[in-house]
Each structure stands twice: as structure tokens, then as C-alpha cells.
């Protein structure tokens, strides 16, 4: 009935005009009938009209009354409630601050998290018609994606009916001379069509035009907006300047607009020009992006590519490899990232729910102390609808203030978190508080309002108010207490779910950290460099550089060992090739590392049999290779080769610079212990090591083992390299510890996020538990006093309160464990060697929750123990 009442008022407001019309009709009918009656009693028409009017009274006055009854009061009431709510909140600043703080944190964290979800998963890519953007791959198996070869790429590019634009890309790093030391800049070499794929136009100047990626074209570059700002101070005359890349002047033809490409790893783009040597189908090196023609679906493109693949059957050596077309967005967001984001979002939603529960609890507790006020207002004639409206308006004011503060919190969180998480997010993700994020915040506020406002206001005003005037001072309200206890149990259960998840992730992280990397990572510092082709045109020059640098590094004080290699442990091996054995049909896919003679000693990788790479393995000497135990195992199991040392195998290996792969037959000279090549969680890969002096490359890593703090050796190392080549910038200065940490980021980031949320959840649940117990102790002071008067000791009172806490905790734990059993399965793909139901982790989670809960119960328990029976009994008279 109350709701209908309120609804009618609301409707009346909307239908004011119609209701006014109806009333006019009624008045007219009324006066007509009165006239007729008066005429029937013998009055003249004139007199009858006068009598009827007088009998009715003041029409205007009556209309005002009518309207007042109908609607105006509703608006007035709302305004009064808002003012009253503000005043009531101002009277209780402690309650108001805590509540708004809880809401601001909950809503803020959720809004910030949602902006990540929105940027990474929901928003379309920040390019026109992103659904037409694709990546094109070769597929060794259905689930694998492999770069393609130059000639195959050119075949794809001829499919003009499928692709509006198709471009290959290849990363490069180049030295850029600035005022001081040369710095290393990341860039991309791209086909001239590249920016047509993204539909991005230059802000200044132009992007590449057709033909600029053909041999003999002038050297040109396009800059990112941020590089133009930072390096050139936003110089408007930038197009007249050159950029020196590795000492070669490149004409700057354009600057990209501000936005997505500023988050890209690359800062400069230059045309990818294929050298004659690269025109082959052996070297799989090109990553390909494309834009489909309008109206061409991914499926149609797939079908076209399958047909093309069939027509190329004669020229592609990898018989069972296919072609495929993927939506561009898919590869930007990997499965692990997607799962981590969902996980973090779900956790933060649970935290918000717990914060809401706490606020609802606070409002209920406040409501219990206000029963007297409510009862008084009822006695003075306030309808229950009015009371509910008043309480609800107070909640509304709270939630709105909490929401506004929450948006401020979200802004601060995003500001603080963006630099930390940007590296893990795709470059297209723009973290900002845009309209949809603000919309989410509004929805969150509404939900919070319903969760925290509706229940307590109904509870407070529908409780038995009649008795409250007499009892409110003393008795506890049974139903309210039960609701509050249920809410606390729910909070505990939700926290247990989060803590279980976090405990599993932490155990998994600990397992991951225990994995033996196969190399000694302490006291090792690494750097990278790229030898520019202009300064190092021939393999001999590069080899001379390696030897000179190692020579100098090893003579540095504090340096124990130094080496040059292609690639570092744990970071993946770029080269993959098949090795063949004479007379055997099967091939074995192995990873290939090029290392100098000191790589194994520097990282302390032991040689198990035969020998490692030695100085004598240089140009002109017979080609050799060292294999890891995993290759030896494969050779023994699949090829029946029990002692591989001394055997020769066939393999394609890349030449120096643009020289393509060519077949060689190195002899196996030794077997070394496995090192972890692709991260601690990844299975051991078969790896072969060939001498860097026989297969030199330009993209090198320096690995230096020091006697003391490796960071302290950096300046010495830089100086030593400068003595060999003053123009070569060193990049990626990291200790092996840092490399290891970086390789584990996929696991550490979600773990710490989940851990932080679980901690916050546990604290909030403990706070809720504390609130209920403290309230109960206050309400039961008289009972406690009597019990102590008849002989209960303080210890009994304390244990009574703790038992109370424990009973709520236990119910919460059981429910929470049930939830954890149902939910931890979603963690499976993030867990390493830990079952999603690992009993030890779940037990630790339960223990922690119980501990936090009991600690929070100790305060009210000790309050209860301090109750002085004499005071209490005298107070209550």
C-alpha cells in the first residue's frame, strides 16, 4: 500500500495537467447539478446559479488545496529530506567520514579497474573500422602462429580483392646521437602501406607513399608525436630536419598524431626495403598486418588464403603449414592478460560488495540508535512511507558524496597505476575516465545505494516501532541484530574466497621462484646493443668487436667473467630451426643460440660431456655446435643416437646482416646442462648453441659476472665499450635478477593485485565483525553486569564474546570455502604446479581469516571484561 501511495504521488506529478482537467470537469458537473436542484426548488435561473456558486465555496482556493494534496508535497518532502539528511550526516561526522571513505575506496577502485577493462577488452581499437584490421600468419599447427617469408608475403599482397592494405613490419633499434651519449631508439621498419592499415594520417607532413619501400628509395622516417615533442621540442619546422639513425641521415617526412602510437614501443618508423638476398621462402621473419576490403569477412578472407595456400603447394617447403587471418585485436590481448584482468575485476567487485556490506551494517547500527527518533516521528504523524523516504534520501546523499569522492580516487589510482601497468597492456589501451567509465561509476553508485540504502531503511522503519519509545533506550533489536550478523557472515565468506584465491596464487608464485633456472643469476649484469650495418658491414668487423669488448670487460676490476651472446636466459630464443640427420627422414625442431666461448662459464652452465664452445671455433675452422640435454634426449629417443658427441647434423643457419639462411653441417662437440630459455614456467626446450664467431649477428647481449654489486660495474662496462666504439649506445641495462623478475611478471602482477584485494577484504570483514560485536557488547552491558555480579569472571566474559565471533567466523569460513571450491577453478591457467584446490593454501587462507577475525574481536571482548557490574546495575536502576 505504501509503495502504491508513493507511486501515485509520483504519477500525479507527471500527470498534473490531466488531473487538473478532470477536476475542472467535476466542478462544472457539480455546479450544474446544484443549479438544477435549486431551480427544482422554485428559484429563478439567475438565483439558482448564485446559490450553487455560494454553496460550492471558493473555487480557486479549493483547486489549490486539491493540488497540494496531490503532488506538491512530494517535491517539498524530497527537498526537506535532502536538507535533513545533510544535517543529520553533519551531526555525526565520524559515521559520515567512515562511510564516505568506504564507499569512495570501493567505488574508486572499481571505477579504476573498469577503465582498464574498458580500455583493453571493451572499447573498439582506436582506429577507424577496427573490425577490418587483421593479422596474417603462417600456421605450423592450427593453434600456432608463425611469421612468414618475403616471397610469401608478396604473394599475399597480390590478393587485392581481399586486402585493402597489407604491410609487413620488423623491429629495429638504432643509435641516435644527442648532445651527450648516443641513445638507443626503438623503431619499426614497415611496408609503405603500413599506416593505411591503421588509417592513420600524419599530423604534420605525410606518411609513406607507394614506392618508398622499394630498393633505391631515399632514406626517410616518420616520428611519433611524443618523440617529436621530447627530442625536438615540438619544432614546427621539423620537416626540414634530418634524423641521424646509426650515423645515417634520414629525412623526417612526417609526425604522427598524438595518441595510440605514443604508447607504442617504437618511436620512429622507416620503410622496410627488401634486399635481393631476402627474396626467398626460407627465412620466416615478417609479421604482417592488414586491412580487409569493405564487405570482406574474416571467414571469406580465410577461405581466399586457403585457396592461395593450395596454389602455392609446389613452392612452400613446409608441407603441412597453412595460412590464417586473425582479427587484429585478438593478439593484442593475450589469454593470460585477459584472465588476469577478469580476475582483478572480479576481486575488486567482491571488495566493493564487502564495503557495501560494511556501510549497510553501519547504517543499520545507526538506525538501531535512531529507533527512538523514528518512533517519535511516527507518533507525531509521519507515515511510514515518509520515514522510508527520509532514510533513503540520507543514503542517497551518502552514496552521491561517496561516488564523487570515488571518482576522485579512481582518477588518482589511474594516475599512479598507469606507468606500472602500461608495459603489460597493449599499446592501443588508453586508460582514461571517459563517458562509459563515468557511466559505470554511476551504475556502481546506484547499486551501492540499493544495497546500502533500501534494506536498512525498510528494516528501521518497519521494525516494531510502537514499543520503541519505551524500549529503545535499553533493549537490542533482535531482528536488526540478526540481519547484521548475517551481513558479517557474508562478508567473511566473500573475504575467504578472495584470500583462498590469493593464497593459491602466492603458493604458485613461490613454486615458480624455486624453479632452477639452470644458470647462476646472482651477480650478473646484462646489456644489449645493435651493431649498425654502416659501421660493421662485414662479419669480420663484428667478430673483432666481440673479442675486443670481452677482452676489455674481463680486465675490469670487479669483473669475474664476461661474454657476448644472442639472447639471454629466460627471455625466449628467437631462432628456431630443424636439424636433420644424414639418412633419417624425421626432423627435430630446435631453438638456436649464438654464443661466444665465455657464455657457459659466465652463467655457470656445466658441460655434461664433450666440450663447450672454445676460442678455436672461429671463421674458417670446421663448424661446431653444443647441444643441451633435452636435444640429447630427443636424439637418443627418436633417432636412437645414444652418444651424439662427434656426430654431424644438417641445419639452416642465418648469415650476417641481410644474408639469408644457408645449410651447414656442424659437428656436435658437447652436451651442456639445460638452461631455462622461455621463462621458469615453460617446459625445457631443445636448444643448440653455435659459436658466435662462426655465425655472427648484430643484435647482441653482453653478459657480465661481477664479484660484488653488479649495478656498481655499469659505468665501468659503459666506459670499456666506449673505448671500443664511442658511438655505440648500450640499452636494456638489467641484472639477471631483474630479467628473472620480468619473466615472471605475468604471475607476480595478478598475485600481488589479488593479494592486496584479499587483504583489504579481510580488513573490511574484520571491521564489520568488530562493529557487530562492539554493538552487541554495548547492548548487553546490563546482562554482562548481572552475570559478573553472580560470579562470572572476566575470562568467562571474554570467551563468551570470542565464542560469538568464532561462531560467525566458522559459518563464514564454511560458506567461503564452498565458494572457493566453486570459483578457484578459474585460476587454473594462472597457477603453476599448484592444484586449484590445494589443501595447504586453503588451510592457510582459513587460518588467516580466523586470526584477523579473532584479533578484531579482542577489542570488544576486553571492553566486555571491563564492565563494572555495580555501575551498570545502578545505571539501570
Amino acid at each position: 500500500m505504501k509503495i502504491r501511495f508513493a507511486l501515485r504521488r509520483l504519477l500525479a506529478l507527471v500527470r498534473k495537467r490531466r488531473l487538473d482537467g478532470e477536476l475542472d470537469g467535476e466542478i462544472l458537473a457539480h455546479i450544474e447539478m446544484a443549479e438544477l436542484d435549486a431551480i427544482a426548488s422554485g428559484l429563478s435561473r439567475e438565483e439558482a446559479r448564485r446559490v450553487a456558486r455560494r454553496g460550492f465555496g471558493g473555487i480557486q482556493q479549493m483547486k489549490e488545496d486539491h493540488r497540494d494534496q496531490r503532488s506538491v508535497r512530494w517535491v517539498e518532502n524530497l527537498w526537506r529530506d535532502v536538507r535533513y539528511g545533510m544535517a543529520s550526516l553533519a551531526r555525526d561526522p565520524g559515521f559520515t567520514t567512515v562511510t564516505i571513505g568506504l564507499l569512495a575506496l570501493g567505488i574508486g577502485a572499481n571505477t579504476a579497474m573498469f577503465s582498464i577493462v574498458n580500455a583493453v577488452l571493451l572499447k573498439p581499437l582506436p582506429f577507424p573500422e577496427p573490425e577490418r584490421m587483421v593479422r596474417v600468419w603462417e600456421t605450423p599447427a592450427a593453434s600456432q602462429r608463425n611469421p612468414t617469408t618475403t616471397l610469401t608475403f608478396l604473394d599475399w599482397k597480390r590478393q587485392g580483392d581481399v586486402f585493402e592494405a597489407l604491410a609487413a613490419e620488423e623491429s629495429f633499434k638504432a643509435a641516435v646521437a644527442t648532445d651527450g651519449d648516443p641513445v638507443r631508439l626503438s623503431g619499426k621498419m614497415v611496408s609503405a602501406d603500413y599506416f593505411n592499415v591503421f588509417h592513420v594520417q600524419a599530423q604534420i607532413g605525410r606518411t609513406f607513399v607507394p614506392g618508398e619501400d622499394q630498393p633505391g628509395a631515399a632514406l626517410v622516417v616518420v616520428l611519433s608525436h611524443s618523440l617529436w615533442q621530447r627530442q625536438f621540442g615540438g619544432d614546427p619546422g621539423i620537416l626540414k630536419r634530418d634524423l641521424l639513425l646509426d650515423g645515417q641521415p634520414h629525412r623526417i617526412i612526417g609526425v604522427l598524431p598524438k595518441g595510440s602510437f605514443d604508447r607504442h614501443e617504437a618511436r620512429v618508423w622507416k620503410p622496410l626495403i627488401f634486399a635481393p638476398d631476402q627474396m626467398n621462402r626460407g627465412q620466416h621473419w615478417l609479421h604482417v598486418v592488414g586491412r580487409l576490403r569493405p564487405g570482406v569477412s574474416i571467414e571469406q578472407a580465410q577461405a581466399k588464403m586457403r585457396a592461395l595456400r593450395a596454389s602455392l603447394a609446389g613452392v612452400i617447403a613446409q608441407k603441412d603449414w597453412g595460412f590464417t587471418v586473425d582479427p587484429f585485436a585478438r593478439l593484442l590481448v593475450g589469454d593470460t592478460l585477459r584472465r588476469s584482468i577478469y580476475l582483478a575485476f572480479a576481486s575488486v567487485l567482491l571488495v566493493l560488495l564487502i564495503a557495501c556490506a560494511n556501510v549497510a551494517n553501519l547504517v543499520l547500527a545507526k538506525g538501531a540508535t535512531r529507533r527512538k527518533e523514528m518512533a517519535l516521528r511516527t507518533a507525531l504523524g509521519a507515515g511510514r512511507g515518509r520515514l522510508i523516504a527520509q532514510l533513503f534520501t540520507e543514503s542517497l546523499v551518502l552514496c552521491l558524496l561517496g561516488g564523487i569522492a570515488g571518482i576522485a580516487v579512481a582518477y588518482l589510482l589511474l594516475h599512479a597505476a598507469t606507468p606500472l601497468v602500461a608495459a603489460s597492456l597493449p599499446f592501443t589501451a588508453d586508460l582514461s575516465l571517459d563517458l562509459s567509465v563515468l557511466g559505470f561509476a554511476a551504475v556502481a553508485v546506484m547499486t551501492v545505494l540499493i544495497l546500502t540504502g533500501l534494506l536498512p531503511s525498510l528494516q528501521t522503519s518497519f521494525g516494531k516501532l510502537s514499543g520503541s519509545l519505551n524500549q529503545a533506550a535499553r533493549g537490542s533489536s533482535g531482528s536488526s541484530a540478526a540481519v547484521r550478523r548475517t551481513i558479517v557472515i557474508g562478508e567473511v565468506a566473500a573475504s575467504v574466497v578472495l584470500i583462498c584465491g590469493a593464497a593459491l596464487l602466492f603458493k604458485s608464485l613461490a613454486k615458480l621462484q624455486q624453479v632452477d633456472a639452470g644458470v647462476r643469476i646472482d651477480h650478473v649484469i646484462t646489456m644489449s646493443a645493435d651493431l649498425p650495418s654502416a659501421a660493421y658491414p662485414a662479419p669480420e668487423t663484428a667478430i673483432a668487436f666481440y673479442e675486443a669488448v670481452v677482452e676489455r670487460l674481463r680486465s675490469l676490476p670487479g669483473v669475474e667473467q664476461a661474454s657476448v651472446s644472442i639472447g639471454l636466459p629466460l627471455e625466449g630464443v628467437r631462432w628456431g630451426e630443424f636439424i636433420t640427420l644424414p639418412g633419417v627422414k624425421d626432423e627435430l625442431l630446435v631453438r638456436v643460440k649464438m654464443v661466444d666461448p665465455w657464455y657457459f662459464p659466465t652463467l655457470q652452465i656445466p658441460v655434461e660431456s664433450g666440450r663447450g664452445i672454445e676460442v678455436r671455433d672461429r671463421t674458417g675452422a670446421p663448424p661446431v655446435m653444443v647441444i643441451n640435454q633435452e636435444v640429447a634426449r630427443h636424439l637418443s629417443s627418436a633417432f636412437g643416437m645414444s652418444n651424439p658427441v662427434g656426430r654431424a647434423v644438417g641445419i639452416y643457419l642465418p648469415g650476417y646482416g641481410p644474408i639469408p639462411e644457408s645449410p651447414v653441417s656442424p659437428r656436435i662437440v658437447g652436451v651442456i646442462r639445460n638452461e631455462r630459455t622461455s621463462g621458469l614456467h615453460a617446459p625445457i626446450e631443445p636448444v643448440i648453441y653455435v659459436p658466435l664467431a662462426q655465425f655472427p649477428r648484430q643484435d647482441i647481449n653482453l653478459v657480465v659476472r661481477t664479484r660484488s654489486d653488479p649495478q656498481a660495474a655499469v659505468s665501468g662496462i659503459r666506459e670499456a665499450v666506449r673505448q671500443v666504439d664511442a658511438h655505440l649506445p648500450l640499452g636494456d641495462v638489467r641484472t639477471m635478477e631483474q630479467v628473472k623478475k620480468h619473466s615472471m611478471l605475468w604471475a607476480t602482477e595478478p598475485t600481488w593485485v589479488a593479494g592486496a584485494f584479499a587483504g583489504v577484504a579481510a580488513l573490511l570483514a574484520a571491521l564489520g565483525l568488530y562493529g557487530v560485536l562492539a554493538h552487541a557488547v554495548t547492548q548487553q552491558r546490563r546482562e554482562i553486569g548481572i552475570r559478573m555480579a553472580v560470579g562470572a569472571r572476566p575470562g568467562d566474559v571474554v570467551s563468551h564474546t570470542l565464542r560469538d565471533a568464532l561462531s560467525m567466523l566458522l559459518v563464514g569460513l564454511v560458506l567461503g570455502l564452498g565458494g572457493a571450491f566453486a570459483l578457484t577453478r578459474v585460476l587454473k591457467s594462472l597457477l603453476f604446479q599448484v592444484s586449484a584446490l590445494d589443501p595447504a593454501a586453503l588451510a592457510v587462507a582459513c587460518f588467516l581469516m580466523t586470526l584477523v577475525g579473532l584479533l578484531s574481536a579482542l577489542i570488544p571482548a576486553s571492553c566486555a571484561a571491563r564492565v563494572d557490574p555495580m555501575t551498570v546495575l545502578r545505571d539501570e536502576g
Binding site: 500500500m1 447539478m33 494534496q69
Partner: protein, 112 residues
């Protein structure tokens, strides 16, 4: 029009309307007003218009409901009738009224 007429006692108009609808069944505003005047035998002065805000109030409380009908003058008017909640409210109001008058009567007797 006698000079001894008084206003309808404060707060009793609602009771009078409910009782009228209870005894007479559904009727429109003018008939309700006339009925109250007739029963009161010109003892009270009723501004007939004042029953309309009262009717709205009673309808909002859910004690009476309205239906559209045709008046004797062939106009579309609202017919008001008592709801079940209204009937209950009437008995409560009657009981309250009787208690109040009995109390006042007893005091007056005691005084004399």
C-alpha cells in the same frame, strides 16, 4: 440560512464522507455533499467544494476508489465508493470517535 450554523468540526469531514459512502453506496461528489448537508439538517455549514481535496486524500490513502460514470446532467463524473481498507478505517474511526465523545461526555457529567 440560519445564523446558528457552525463549520464542520475539524477532522470529521473524512469520517462523514466514509460513513456516507458506507450507507449509500457509490455516488458522485455533488451527491455526497448534498447527503452530508441533508443528514446534518442544515446544522453545519459545508463548503461543498472542500469535499474534493478530502476525496483525493482518502483515495491516496486507499480508502476509497473512483470509477467514471455519467451524472444526471449527462456529464462524465467520478463515482466514489468505499474500499475494503476504507471500511476497516471507518470502523476504527468510528470507535475512536465514540471513545473520544464518551470521554468528553463523562467529564462534562462529572463537572455538573
Amino acid at each position: 440560512m440560519s445564523e446558528q450554523k457552525t463549520d464542520v468540526p475539524y477532522g470529521t469531514l473524512d469520517l462523514l464522507i466514509l460513513k456516507t459512502l458506507d450507507t449509500m453506496g457509490p455516488m458522485h461528489g455533488y451527491r455526497i455533499a448534498r447527503r452530508i448537508e441533508q443528514v446534518a439538517e442544515n446544522l453545519v455549514r459545508l463548503n461543498q467544494g472542500s469535499i474534493y481535496p478530502a476525496l483525493i486524500r482518502l483515495e491516496e490513502q486507499g480508502w476509497i476508489r473512483t470509477q467514471w460514470g455519467i451524472s444526471e446532467t449527462k456529464r462524465k463524473v467520478k463515482f466514489y465508493s468505499l474500499t475494503r481498507a476504507g471500511a476497516k478505517q471507518l470502523s476504527v474511526a468510528v470507535a475512536n470517535w465514540e471513545r473520544a465523545t464518551a470521554l468528553v461526555a463523562r467529564f462534562l457529567e462529572a463537572e455538573s
